[in-house]
Symmetry: C2
Subunit: 230 residues, 2 copies
DNA sequence: GCATATTTGTCCGTATGTATA
DNA sequence: CTATACATACGGACAAATATG
């Protein structure tokens, strides 16, 4: 039964791959989604004991997950007080958008050299956004917008840059939740995304950069204004 | 002896302050320096128990430090096997330099808008490199080169981008250690740094970008060639 | 201001699973 | 196959800090 053994070994290896993500990481994934979906509001405390009981993990494991998310700037740790969902302020937005301008702006310039797969991702994100808008589903429009900017970063072809973009976008998303009404907001930027893609399809990289810079200016202004009211 | 008790409590609190924020981070700092200085070679394993005993910290604390450095890609965690010093290969270099091109290239374009402090950091890094070269101290030249590229990133004025640059540069430094002879190597690039600064001082941002791109091409080629031999 | 309850910080022992000799 | 070494995750114990009445 050597062929059967091979099959079992393949399964075992696959299972091992899945299990390789530790419990703490899986817990962190769950918490990250909860935070980014705005289920727990920025500023609220996460109770160790209660959360541990709900998620059926030990305190140590939960604390490990907390540390992971703290390093992603989604949680903050106050000594002997506990962990809280982070509450970015307008200064964070300024810093964040300075980074996004460099990262995404630089990645867009790689369009001519980018592979077809990376370009397709940009097109798909725009298509998804248009489909969502057509159905009035602003949640889809919101996620499509995030996908669009991740796809722009993907043009550079660097997994490290992709990860950084993921971090930056997650933090921006958190900032949306500090203001109210986070989803409907994205609809206004869909035409700009369409415009950027249009420029790129004509290899007009410089025009695309300009439109993107315009997007950043508007989005940053919007967020800073919203957060300064708090 | 109430006054004595107060004094003890104050000391205890101060000790707590130091210990709380940095036990794991100080351990991580020590380990990071050890790894980046090439004292422990890429590929070697870090034993939890032995290291914990040497550094006099608990396993939990050490694991936290490991986690920090794993996040910085200086260590790798293999499931149920342990922690090892990472060994970047030529594919990592390609990915790494794609990211650096975007990050540093984008940041350089911020020179006209950058503050005087950020510009001064670039000048100082070049000056330090020249001084080191004049004395034949290639270790100083090496650290000056790292400082130069961090300073370029600093032109964007984003702490998040600075952090990312720090991570990328640390990883590059790790790659040097996979090849031999990591320090002397930097000397060849000093003239290029001087040239870039020269362009910037004349606000010739485009020329600076080109020289920087040239630097990336050469450095990437050097590293890829060196690592493919392994 | 004080005493109490709750929560967190830290460390330790143990059971289980995995890889290596 | 056994033995070992190690890592993972859990739960408990106790100290320290904070919050509450």
């Amino acid at each position: 039964m050597t062929s059967g053994d091979d099959w079992l070994q393949a399964l075992a290896r696959e299972r091992g791959d899945i299990d390789r993500s530790s419990t703490a990481e899986r817990v962190a994934d769950k918490l990250r989604a909860t935070v980014l979906d705005g289920v727990v509001k920025p500023g609220s405390q996460l109770n160790e004991k209660a959360l541990g009981e709900v998620l059926r993990v030990s305190r140590n494991t939960l604390r490990e997950a907390f540390r992971l998310l703290t390093h992603e700037r989604l949680l903050v740790h106050e000594y002997s007080r506990g962990v809280f969902v982070r509450k970015p302020d307008w200064r964070d937005i300024v810093d964040l958008y300075a980074a996004r301008r460099v990262v995404e702006g630089g990645a867009v310039r790689c369009w001519p050299a980018a592979g077809e797969k990376a370009r397709a991702a940009v097109r798909e994100a725009v298509a998804l956004g248009r489909a969502g808008a057509a159905q009035g589903d602003w949640l889809v429009v919101g996620t499509a917008n995030v996908k669009f900017h991740q796809a722009l970063t993907g043009l550079a072809g660097s997994s490290r840059l992709d990860e950084e973009a993921r971090r930056l976008l997650a933090e921006v998303r958190l900032a949306f939740h500090v203001m109210g009404d986070p989803e409907r907001f994205h609809k206004d930027y869909l035409p700009l995304n369409v415009e950027i893609l249009g420029h790129l399809e004509r290899d007009a990289v410089r025009d695309a950069e300009e439109s993107l810079a315009d997007y950043f200016d508007r989005a940053e202004k919007h967020l800073v204004a919203g957060l300064r009211e708090q």
